[in-house]
Structure formats: C-alpha cells, structure tokens
C-alpha cells in the first residue's frame, strides 16, 4: 500500500549519498556535561564512528531516557528523542517496529536502564529488536546529585546511603545475557580505539546490541573504574576479549585465564607450568562461555573482562513482524477497507 511514509521514503531515496565527517554528526547545541565527564569521550567516539557506517544521518535516530547520559541526542545532528525516565528502550522499540528502515540507537545509564527501566530493557533484549543500546555505567546517580545506583558496589557511601548501601549490584553484562541478548559487549570511556571498534561491531550486528560503557563521573564517583582504565593499572586488571584468541593479560602478557571445569582461574604462562596453548580461547558464538566470562566481573581476584562477550545471529523481532505482515498480504491481498466493513454476517433492511 502506498502510505504517506512510503511516499516520503521514495522521494528521499533520490537524495545522493553524502560522504560525512564526524563534524556532520555534531549538532548546534552546546554540550552541557560537567568538564571532565566521561560522556564527552563517548560522544566523540560515536560521532567518529558514524561516518563509517554508511547510514545517512537522516536515517539515524538517537533515543534516550533521563539522566546525564540521556542528554546525548541533543548533541547528535541526527533525529533524536529525549524521552522519559527508563522508557527509551520502549520508545525505540515502537519506532523500530514502525520504521525498520531506520538505524536506531538507545542511550541510557545504569539508573535509567537498569533501575527504573529494567523491565523494558530485558524485554527488548529477549525480543531482539534490531537497535543498539549504549548503557553508560558510572555506578552512581549523577543528575540527581549522587545517590547510589543499581550497579554501585555494596557498602557504597552516598547521600542516600550514609551508612553504606546494602544493595547487591547488577552486573549489566550478565543481566543482558540472562535476558537472552544476542550481542553483549563492554568497553571503556578512556579507550577510544576499543570503543570505536565495539561501536562499529554493535552497529553491524543485526539484533539488539547491548554495549556497557564504563564511564567516569568525575563529580560524584571519580575514579570508579580507574584500575581498568588507567595506564599504570589497566594491564594487570583487564583482560580484553578477542574472538578466536586466548585470554592473556598483564604488563608482559605473561598471564592468562584457564578454565578449571567451569571456573576461570588466573595462570602464569611464564613459570613453565602452562603455555598459551592451555589458555581459554574466546568464542563470541558460545553462549555458555559468555556467561562464564561475564561472571568474572563479580570476582575481584580475576581481571575485568572487556570486549565482546557474545555476538550471535538470531531472528529479529522487527524482521519477523514485517514477514508476518508481508505473508498475510500475499495470502489475503492488500487489506481493503470496504471488504472489511462488509465482512461477516450481514443483512439488508429495505
């Protein structure tokens, strides 16, 4: 059927493709995050990656909820929707279902996405709608000025927990995997190169891409991730996941992760007992492995896994919705209003 949307799309199709630079994705609005906020880097990497995706900016939409991170769409010169607290995932779901032709990005935070919006997030992930979720995790509520969040560590002293928080935190990667996400990754605000790679992979993945980004809130939770992001501590505390490669880390790449049954353990490849060949080799397609790797997050004795935990193809909700409609149209013909109104048992009054 020729809808008004299809008419617009047909006329837009004649617009010649443009070669973009990252500047084309920068809007005319002043960026208002605190100086030194990790959000600046995420914005910069996103704008840097966009030109490489080959998607016109008028076909790109950023949808956010509420929180510091959720101001993001205002700074992107694409279509944008700053919605309400926790609901960006649901708004974006509706948008993508209505318009599968669009590239839809969700920007959310640990409070927006995992607390008030936790329900929508898990349902989005299980449905596997083809959108990208960027979850800025700073383990604190920034916009409301410093309460603990659902990812804050136990014992966190904040304005609302002067005696220390007693909530056990979510591990976003495990939560996403538990909700049957098809793409789960973690990256760091202070590692621009890694973030760009992950963002590109997320964009390319068909299905819901869930990317947790460790983001420093230098006002209310400064240094929360420094052991994973700073030069002096990073090598010892982070293991980067690369598909098909063994899990090695350490300053000299002298340590690795070996699976002891289902339990990951740290071994040295230097002391002669183990070699690289004994180490766990990452496989992005292995669901079981992804759970083990994500769970390392909660084990302080193990290095923090960063990278793509899982990247699995499975049918997307929006594709299946389109397919059902196309098949119904093929089988029954394009819906005709006159026919509908006259269907069923009818009778004449003369």
């Amino acid at each position: 059927m020729s809808t008004k949307v299809n008419e617009m799309l047909a006329s837009a199709a004649s617009v010649a493709p443009v070669k973009y630079t990252s500047k084309d994705f920068s809007s005319d609005q002043d960026v208002r995050w605190c100086p030194g906020c990790g959000d600046y880097s995420i914005l910069a990497q996103t704008q840097r990656v966009m030109p490489d995706l080959g998607i016109p900016k008028h076909k790109t939409v950023f949808v956010s909820g509420i929180g510091c991170s959720s101001r993001f769409p205002y700074y992107m010169n694409t279509y944008g929707f700053h919605s309400i607290h926790g609901r960006a995932t649901a708004v974006a779901s509706g948008l993508k279902m209505a318009r599968p032709d669009l590239s839809v990005w969700i920007v959310t935070g640990d409070g927006d996405g995992m607390s008030i919006g936790g329900n929508h997030l898990i349902h989005l992930l299980r449905r596997n709608i083809d959108v990208n979720v960027l979850l800025f995790n700073n383990q604190i509520y920034g916009l409301t000025k410093g309460q603990y969040s659902p990812t804050s560590e136990v014992g966190k002293v904040t304005k609302s927990t002067p005696y220390g928080s007693i909530d056990y935190p979510f591990n976003p990667a495990s939560l996403a995997l538990g909700a049957s996400a098809s793409f789960v990754a973690r990256t760091l605000d202070r590692d621009p190169k890694h973030m760009q790679v992950v963002l590109k992979r997320a964009a390319e993945h068909k299905g819901t891409s869930f990317v947790e980004i460790y983001q420093n809130c230098n006002v209310f939770n400064d240094g929360a991730f420094f052991q994973f992001t700073e030069k002096e501590s990073k090598d010892e505390n982070v293991v980067f996941l690369e598909h098909g490669k063994p899990l090695v880390f350490g300053k000299e790449k002298e340590k690795g992760i070996k699976l002891d049954g289902f339990t990951p353990t740290v071994v040295s490849t230097k002391d002669g007992k183990y070699s690289v060949n004994d180490l766990l080799v990452h496989n992005e397609k292995d669901t079981t492995l992804s759970f083990i790797l994500a769970d390392m997050t909660m084990k302080p004795a193990l290095p923090r896994p960063v990278g793509i935990f899982l990247s699995l193809e499975r049918p997307t909700y929006d594709d299946m919705m389109t397919l059902q409609i196309d098949e119904a149209k093929k089988k029954r013909g394009e819906g005709d209003l006159e026919k509908l109104l006259n269907s069923g048992d009818t009778w004449m009054i003369n």
Partner: protein, 612 residues
C-alpha cells in the same frame, strides 16, 4: 399440535448459568440470529472476573441479557421477561431482574441438594409458593441432552458442555428463530472436531424439537423486524467497532496503524481483533507493561504511524507520565480507555464512568488532552475515527473513552461506505527550507510532523520544555508560560472544528438531561418516555468532552433544570457546574451496572415535581 402464537413488540431474555456453561456463547448466538431477522437489539453480557469459578456458586454465575424488538431498542432492558437459569445459583442471582409475571425456564438438574446448598437456598425454590408469581417451566435439560447423544459414545464432559445448545434450541423455537445461522457457525467452529460439531447440532435441534412436540410450552412468540434505516447491517460490539474504527482511520489517513498494548479487561478484545488484520498493515505489539504500551506507540508516532494504545483505568494511571511526554513533544497518539469499576483493580468486568476526571486532569503540570467519548457500541467506530482525526490534525494525544458496557455490548450497525468516511490524509513536513520543529500552523497551532528518514529535517524532541519555534530546550520563564498557554490554546481551538451540540427534544424547557458515553441508550429511553407523557424534558449527549462544543453553555442556559446521570460520583456534573456556573444536579450510580431507564425516569419526575 398447533400452538398459539402471540405477537410482541419487544422482549428481554436473560441467559444465566455457571461461568463454564457457555452462557456468553449462547447469548451471542441468539443475538446474531436475532440480528439477521432484522430486529433492533441491545445486549449486556454480565460475567464474573474469575474464568472458571467453582461450579454452582453464586459468584460463578455468568449472564447474558438481550433486549430485541420491532421497535427502536436503546438499552439491554431494565428487567428481563424471560430468565433461563441453568442452576439454582443462576436463579438466585438473577431472579431480581425478572419482571413480575415473567417466565423462568430452569434446568431442573441444576437444582440438586448440592446446588441448593451452594446457592444458599434452605429449600428448593421451585417448590416455594413465591415462585408462582412467575410462569415456571421445569425442564431436565441435562437429561434430555444426554438422551439426545446417548448413541454417540461421548465423554460426560462433552455431553455436559452441549447442554447450553439445548437451551438455545428451546429459545429459538419459542421466539420463532431459524437454527441455520447457529448450525453454520457450529460447523465452522468445530470443523476439526466432528464429534463436538455433531453433538452440538443434535442438541440444538433437540431443544427446538422439545418446544415443538411437548406440551410444556403453550405459546410461541413472534417479534417482527424493526423499522431501521434502510441499508446493510451487521451486529457489532463496542470493542470490535473501536478496532475497526482505527483500521478505517489509518486507511483514510494513508498511514499504517500501530497498537502498543498490554492485556487488560475489558480492553483486550481490541488487541485481539486488531492482531488479525496484518494484511491491512496493522502492527500490534503486546508490550511488557502498560508503560511500554503507550511509549512504544509514541515511538511509532514519531516514525509516522497512526499510533494508539488500548487500556482501562488502572492502565491509564500507569501511562500518565508518558501522556505528559506526548503533550510536550506534540505527537499524535490515541489512548483508548475502556472504563471499568475502580479504584485500583476494582471491578474488572463491570462498567463505570469514573475516569473522566482522570482523563481531563490526571497528569502533572498543565497537560491538556482532548477527549472523545463513544455513546453506543456501533458509535465506537465513529468515535475512534474522530479521536484519530483530532490527534493527527492537531498533533496531540487524545483520549477515547468507552466502557465495559459498550465494549462487550452489541447492536445492529448500519455499515458505512468507506468512501463516505472522513478523509484524514496527513501531510508530513518534507521541505527543509524554513523548517522549525515548533513552528506552528496558524489556524490549528499544530506543529509540523517531520518524521525520521526525511533528509534535512534532523531535529531533536523531548520532555524538557521547548523553546517556541526552534524546539530547543529552554528554561526561560516567559517562554514556559507562553508554551503552556499555547498548548492549552491549541486544544481549545479544536472547539472551532467539532460539530455544535444538538439537543434531542426541544431547545428550551423545564429539564435538560445531559449525559456522556455509554449512558446514551438509557437516557434516550427515559427522555423519550417522559416526553411521550407530556413532560418538558430534552436530552443532550456530549461526544466531545474536551474541548466541549461551543454552544454547550447556551444550551444549558435554556433549561430551568439540568440533570446529569453518570455512573460515578458526579464528574461531568462538576465540570459543567464549574465551567458554565449552572446549578446542575447529578444522578449517580456506582454499582458496576448500567442505568436502568426507569431510574432516570424516576429522577426526572422528582425534579419536575420540584424536588431535587
């Protein structure tokens, strides 16, 4: 043997039994056959919230009332003339709604000691002399059903489930209706289960034959066709009409329809109905909760769909914040509130009109939302189109108010020609030159609908206050007041674009009865009767509740008294009193049941006599 046939102008029949007895199905079949005969009719399903309440209990009783005739029928009937009771509990719950001298047909098998005990009867009411004021027909429906099927070797469960068709067959005989439409329906419905198909058809015929051959029924009745407006008709429920209205609106707007919805009684049937029309490009999304229902619709609207969300009062409560967002971002979305008894979970399967103030005022901040209310089951179709028209033209969320009574009730519906329906064609903004997200249409004050995918119109919207014209975030005090007033003005201007209110009856007089929503039929019947008796009474029924028609005040001032019957504690009456400063009085009923005409008649008489 020849039986005496009497002609009747109108009859009300109530089928009642256990919630597992298939009374809703029986009633629906009787309704469809009756509609095909050209009678005017109105129905009232009345069922418990429990799906299969324990057998034989009072709270497990399910009823279906149909009022049909050769006259104009506006309500499902204040009282029934015939009560079909499948057990003792059904008799006990429904006897109060039977007219004195009415007929009772009971299944005697449902009056065992156990049934009597469950119903709380100390002794068998069928043997009680008090029953003699009615005409009692005692039929062992269970036994007769079993006999009719005895050679089929069916399980006792299947046999038991067929007995409602015996009752239906008897009533078809008594009111001289053909069996064929129901037989056709059974054949289609049970095509994969030949045993059940055969048993149901057999039992249906057995019921008919029982009426024909035994001497128990002395009289048959004939109810001739009604003088309805000529044309093609079908029977339609409110929920079905609502669903079709939105399909029609989307077609007439050249948009795809998107429904984001979470199941809730009594609105779920709209979701069920719309989910069947994929070939019409209808996208239905069963969301994880009420909030995702409305927010997904808002997302779809941003993308250029005619987006709607269906719910009932508790669901509206959850959608409230998102509706404020829709007001702020000025996107079209229609919220259908199929009202039920509240507050909280309240009475899920019963009707009420207590969400009007919620629709008018139930949001944080100054967040005006237009409201359209349907008046009859068939009118839901047009109300849905009107709600869509306002949403699309004015770029605003709109409430469509129906209720449980309209949703499940049905009536004959004159099928419109699709080309006669309003043209709702929308125009998306496509010119980049001079585009500003909040640059408004001078007349309607609507902002442009610029959907993602349009080159050159990239822009950002959101729930933070918008700067006039640019739509950029603005905390400027003067701009905020300006925008609040502008959004209010936009909704007020809709009054220039809706029909003026029309009084049924004289334009001046002693009393005006003002109603809204599903009370239309009861008020109309009452006012018609009072006028026939010479009283100076007129009826005004409001379809648009925000804004109201421009002549509403003028109409009110032309009457000495104003009465506002509502199924709530007095919500419209409050609005009318504060807006038009008239001493309107309310007639309020909060029982989960629709008005009986007689209740309104009584109040009319009371007011006209000088009492209030």
């Amino acid at each position: 043997m020849a039986k005496n046939t009497q002609n009747l102008d109108e009859v009300t029949i109530r089928f009642a039994g256990d919630s597992g007895d298939g009374m809703q199905l029986t009633g629906t079949q009787f309704t469809n056959t009756t509609a095909l005969l050209g009678n005017d009719l109105s129905t009232l399903p009345d069922y418990p919230a429990e799906i299969r309440a324990p057998q034989g209990t009072l709270f497990g009783v399910s009823g279906f009332q149909i009022h049909f005739g050769s006259l104009e029928i506006n309500t499902p009937g204040d009282q029934c003339d015939v009560l079909v009771a499948m057990n003792a509990a059904a008799l006990k719950v429904n006897l109060g709604s039977l007219v004195d001298g009415g007929a009772i047909i009971v299944n005697t098998d449902g009056f065992s000691d156990k049934n009597l005990k469950l119903a709380g009867y100390p002794s068998n009411p069928l043997k009680d002399p008090a029953i003699q004021k009615y005409t009692l027909y005692e039929v062992d429906i269970t036994k007769l059903t079993t006999l009719a099927l005895q050679d089929m070797n069916l399980s006792s469960k299947i046999v038991d489930r067929s007995k409602n068709f015996f009752a239906l067959g008897m009533m078809y005989w008594m009111y001289n209706r053909p069996l064929e439409p129901t037989i056709e329906w059974i054949k289609k419905k049970f095509s994969a289960k030949p045993d059940i198909m055969e048993s149901n058809i057999r039992v249906l015929k057995a019921g008919w034959n029982y009426g024909e051959t035994t001497e128990i029924f002395k009289v048959r009745y004939e109810v001739g066709p009604a003088k309805l407006t000529p044309g093609k008709y079908r029977n339609i429920t409110g929920n079905q009409a609502t669903a079709w209205g939105f399909i029609a609106a989307a077609k007439r707007a050249h948009l795809d329809l998107f429904l984001g919805s979470y199941p809730i009684t009594p609105a779920s049937d709209i979701l069920h109905e719309l989910s069947m029309y994929k070939s019409y490009g209808v996208k239905t999304f069963q969301a994880e909760d009420e909030i995702a229902g409305v927010t997904s619709a808002i997302g779809a609207s941003f993308g250029g769909s005619l987006a709607i969300t269906t719910t009932s009062g508790p669901g509206v409560a959850l959608k409230t914040e998102a509706l404020g967002l829709a007001v702020m971002v000025e996107l079209p979305v229609v919220v259908i509130n199929v009202q039920r008894g509240g507050p909280s979970t309240g009475l899920p399967t019963k009707t009420e009109q207590a969400d009007l103030l919620q629709a008018l005022y139930g949001r944080n901040g100054e967040a005006p939302i237009p409201i359209v209310a349907a008046s009859t089951p068939g009118n839901c179709f047009y109300a849905a189109i009107e709600a869509s028209r306002i949403a699309l033209k004015y770029m605003t969320p709109v409430f469509l108010m129906t209720d449980g009574y309209l949703a499940n009730g049905s009536e004959p519906w004159l099928i419109p020609k699709s080309s006669d329906l309003p043209d709702l064609t929308v125009k998306f903004r496509t010119e980049a030159e001079g585009f500003m997200p909040y640059l408004r249409d001078e007349k309607t004050l609507a902002r442009p609908w610029a959907i993602p995918g349009t080159p050159g119109l990239e822009h950002r919207i959101g729930g933070l206050e918008k700067q006039h014209l640019t739509g950029n975030v603005s905390y400027d005090p003067a701009n905020h007041e300006y925008m609040v007033r502008l959004r209010a003005e936009k909704v007020e201007r809709i009054a220039d674009d809706i029909p003026t209110a029309k009084v049924e009856g004289d334009a001046k007089g002693d009393l005006l009865v003002v109603g809204w929503g599903g009370t239309y039929g009861a008020i109309k019947s009452a006012v018609t009767k009072m006028r026939a008796e010479g009283h100076s009474v007129s009826h005004l029924h409001l379809t648009h509740l925000n804004p109201m028609p421009k002549n509403t005040g003028e109409i009110l001032y032309n009457f000495k008294n104003v009465l506002v019957p509502e199924l709530n504690m007095g919500q419209l009456v409050k609005v009318l009193r504060s807006k038009y400063l008239v001493p309107a009085v309310g007639l309020n009923k909060i029982q989960g049941l629709p008005f009986k005409s007689v209740e309104i008649e009584k109040k009319i008489v009371e007011i006209l006599k000088g009492g209030k």
